[in-house]
């Protein structure tokens, strides 16, 4: 290990100590457990982790197969998938197989990093429970990572891949804040469709504040009055109209699913990708109505990442939209305009400072792009249709793909697909203490 690059990195030990370091890093999936605590201890802050030496963040992802649930699927609704799941750092593929093999989560864990970290991502290939004959290797490709070198880019032809039973550790220095994605690049048309996909984002150093007009973000231990975070290093106080500060943060990873390659792979056959024609459209691997269930909902044991957006009226909300399907989608929140402040991990600002951010009702999301969208939750309207839960009354705004032909689950009657809700509460919703929290806070079902 090399530890002498400290001077080339932006070290942020104070933040890591306060916020829990790598424990905060994986926001959903296995690590939601660590981050959010046991049921009933809902708002407890995560225990501080010791300041690390060497890499700032280490995450170990295991690759294996499993089943996801899709409304509209015939039979038991399950679909054969591949994916990444978070596992303890020090374990070997052999240690992990008995617990994790065949038990994967989709979509893959949300990885939240901070600018200036050295991030080590260990990939272990556990093999497949259902297709032990299929000894596919896997990789991690951090999609969009700037100035990457070949051995860390995860493209098998251009370096190597990780065979069954083996591990490899990728390393990155997070120099650029923004919303990225990651996926396997081994036979990628197949493995990406098999749902080896996840969101990864880098939070800006501005979360530390500037000691003046830009308060330290709550994610960095700031006061309760401070924003949860900033999307980019915009250099602006939260009150500035061009500020990228937010109170709540959600990560919405879009994809479509064509069940045929999944079924064929399970049945030891191959699919001709020119015939790709999906039947399901998902956000974070869930199709409506599953989208609106909270994180770690017990009814979706292998799809722990919710697609529900909850906010109190007046909250500033960041949607990190990302897309790893193959079609182009027109996403909107009906009734709430969105301000797009980032494209592909870049603040929308010209080289000379020109403000290129824009308001829109519909956000065009093409495969492998990411869009950072802000909105302010509208005033609660008691005169409009109201629903209620443990956090009080709320209004519902539909978050949907405007390509209405995609609002279906396998052609079944009724609403489905890439549809979710933005629920605007009348002040009763607890504050987020980490990104992508949904309420109630639930613990993950496994391992």
């Amino acid at each position: 290990m090399e530890h002498d690059r400290v001077t080339r990195k932006l070290r942020r030990r104070d933040f890591l100590t306060l916020a829990g370091g790598s424990a905060l890093t994986v926001l959903a999936g296995g690590a939601l457990y660590k981050t959010l605590g046991e049921p009933g201890t809902s708002l407890a802050a995560p225990a501080p982790a010791p300041a690390s030496i060497g890499p700032d963040v280490q995450i170990h992802l295991a690759v294996t197969d499993g089943y996801a649930s899709l409304p509209g699927r015939v039979g038991d609704q399950t679909l054969y998938v591949f994916g990444f799941m978070e596992v303890p750092w020090a374990s070997t593929p052999q240690d992990l197989a008995s617990t994790y093999k065949g038990n994967v989560q989709i979509v893959s864990p949300i990885i939240a990093l901070d600018e200036g970290q050295e991030f080590h991502l260990k990939l272990s290939n556990l093999g497949l429970a259902v297709r032990p004959d299929l000894d596919d290797a896997h990789t991690v490709h951090w999609h969009g990572f700037p100035n990457v070198i070949a051995v860390f880019d995860g493209v098998p032809m251009q370096s190597f891949a990780v065979p069954v039973g083996k591990s490899f550790t990728y390393a990155y220095v997070t120099r650029d804040p923004g919303t990225f994605i990651y996926h396997c690049h081994f036979e990628d048309v197949e493995h990406v469709q098999m749902l080896m996909i996840g969101s990864v984002y880098v939070r800006p150093v501005q979360n530390e504040g500037n000691g003046g007009s830009i308060p330290k973000a709550r994610l960095a231990g700031g006061a309760s009055s401070a924003p949860l975070g900033y999307t980019y290093n915009d250099g602006l106080p939260p009150t500035d109209p061009l500020s990228t500060a937010y109170d709540r943060e959600f990560s919405l990873l879009l994809t479509e699913i064509d069940e045929r390659p999944h079924d064929l792979l399970e049945a030891v056959q191959e699919f001709v990708w020119a015939y790709y024609e999906p039947q399901y459209w998902t956000i974070n691997g869930r199709a409506y109505p599953d989208t609106v269930k909270p994180n770690n909902d017990p009814s979706l044991p292998h799809q722990p990442i919710s697609s529900l957006v909850q906010a109190n009226a007046g909250d500033r909300v960041l949607l990190r939209l990302a897309h790893l399907g193959y079609q182009q989608h027109a996403m909107e929140v009906v009734g709430i305009p969105l301000k797009v402040v980032g494209h592909d991990a870049n603040l929308l600002r010209g080289p000379g400072g020109a403000d290129l951010s824009y308001w829109t009702n519909v956000v065009y999301v093409a495969p492998s792009t990411t869009r950072d969208c802000l909105f302010t939750a509208p005033a609660f309207d008691a005169g409009a249709p109201v629903e209620s839960d443990a956090y009080g009354d709320y209004n519902v705004y539909w978050l949907q793909n405007r390509n209405y032909n995609r609002q279906t689950n396998n052609g079944q009657p009724g609403l489905g697909g890439m549809v979710s809700e933005v629920r605007v509460y009348n002040g009763g919703l607890p504050a987020q203490t980490a990104g992508h929290q949904t309420f109630p806070l639930l613990s993950p079902p496994f391992p």
């Binding site: 305009p337 290129l356 519909v362 065009y364 705004y397 390509n403």
Partner: protein, 353 residues
């Protein structure tokens, strides 16, 4: 603020105004169109600025005839005259729905009368009101009140989806364009950069006849359009856009289709000034525009100087949906045509605003 309007002005007058508005853009299509006649159509502003404008709309079944004489069943919006029931044969569903045209600052009261056999509603993306996804039961009505503060090009559409059928109401035709004009005549957004001489509203959509034949049982996975429309018409029935050299033509694209579309203009660039009625900080020039489903784009195309009489500049789907079923030419195509019969009146369609 969500103003609830109470003042209602004469419905008959509004209907007359709307009817004139409706012909405003198609009027461009008439080569014999006389600017003087068009100017007579000016009293579209029936009410003073900032007034309350009431519109009664029907949602009802209708038909659409395509250039190859194929007739498809539709659900569409129509203006409801006072004292006439939506079910009356004189009330014809339109695809797209009538152009709703207002002036910034107006208080709008729209009542939807549902003459369909299922629940229906209207949502107004970009307007300041809570979206309605419930709407009115068959035979019932629902009212929407809001203030149009921001000029621009908007979409209105059904907000209803059913637990028992697919999300087909918009595909069936329940969509239309909504234009809010600034108080300054001849400008799209009350800015010099948005000044124009002519305008055209281009509502993009598709038709899959199978969906129209079986809306309650249609499987959305089978959606496979056979016709591609601009403002409810496929080429060669699309309306040409008539203008003179050096005139600025405001193209108000409204993608009401289920698909995303890419549109091209030949012979000039178009300058994109707004998307979803949000003025761009930095307008940019382009030949081909990706217009996603549900989005509106405003661009200004300036006809080149010195073009000979009769020059036509194609405006068409660059995804090349240029057939009606399998017959070329057809589809999502029209022409901006230098029509020498036009007198160089500036912005005659928008005068009096």
């Amino acid at each position: 603020m969500r103003a609830r309007a109470t003042t209602i002005i004469g419905l008959g007058l509004i209907f007359a105004a709307m009817a004139l508005l409706l012909i405003a853009v198609p009027a461009l299509a008439e080569p014999q169109s006389n600017p003087a006649e068009a100017r007579q159509a000016e009293p579209v502003r029936a009410a003073p600025l900032g007034a309350t404008v009431s519109v009664d709309l029907c949602a009802k079944a209708g038909t659409l005839t395509l250039p190859d004489s194929t007739v498809v069943d539709t659900w569409g919006f129509a203006i409801k005259p006072a004292s006439v029931a939506c079910t009356d044969v004189s009330v014809q569903a339109q695809v797209p729905g009538p152009l709703l045209e207002f002036t910034a600052g107006d208080s709008i009261s729209i009542t939807l009368h549902n003459a369909l056999a299922e629940q229906a509603s209207i949502v107004f993306p970009g307007q300041d009101l809570m979206p309605d996804h419930v709407g009115a039961a068959p035979g019932g009505s629902v009212a929407y009140s809001f203030t149009v503060d921001e000029p621009g090009t908007y979409l209105y559409e059904s907000g209803t989806f059913s637990d028992t059928t697919a999300a087909v109401q918009v595909a069936m035709g329940l969509y239309g364009p909504l234009v809010v004009r600034p108080t300054t005549a001849g400008q799209a957004y009350g800015t010099p950069a948005s000044a124009y001489d002519r305008e055209a509203v281009l509502v993009l959509s598709e038709i899959d006849p199978d969906l129209h034949a079986n809306p309650t049982t249609f499987n959305l996975l089978d959606y496979s359009p056979q016709y591609w429309l601009i403002s409810g018409k496929a080429y060669p029935e699309t309306d040409p856009i008539l203008a003179l050299p050096e005139e600025r033509v405001l193209l108000r694209y409204v993608n009401a289709g289920l698909w995303n579309h890419t549109l091209t203009v030949l012979g000039m660039h178009q300058t994109v000034i707004a998307v979803d009625a949000y003025v761009k900080n930095y307008p940019h020039e382009a030949v081909s525009l990706i217009i996603p489903s549900g989005q509106t784009w405003d661009s200004i195309a300036t006809l080149p100087a010195g073009a000979p009489f009769g020059t036509s500049f194609p405006l068409y789907s660059r995804n090349l949906f240029l057939s009606n079923e399998n017959t070329f030419p057809g589809g999502m195509m029209t022409f901006i045509t230098y029509d020498p019969t036009l007198l160089p009146y500036r912005n005659y369609l928008g005068l009096g605003m």
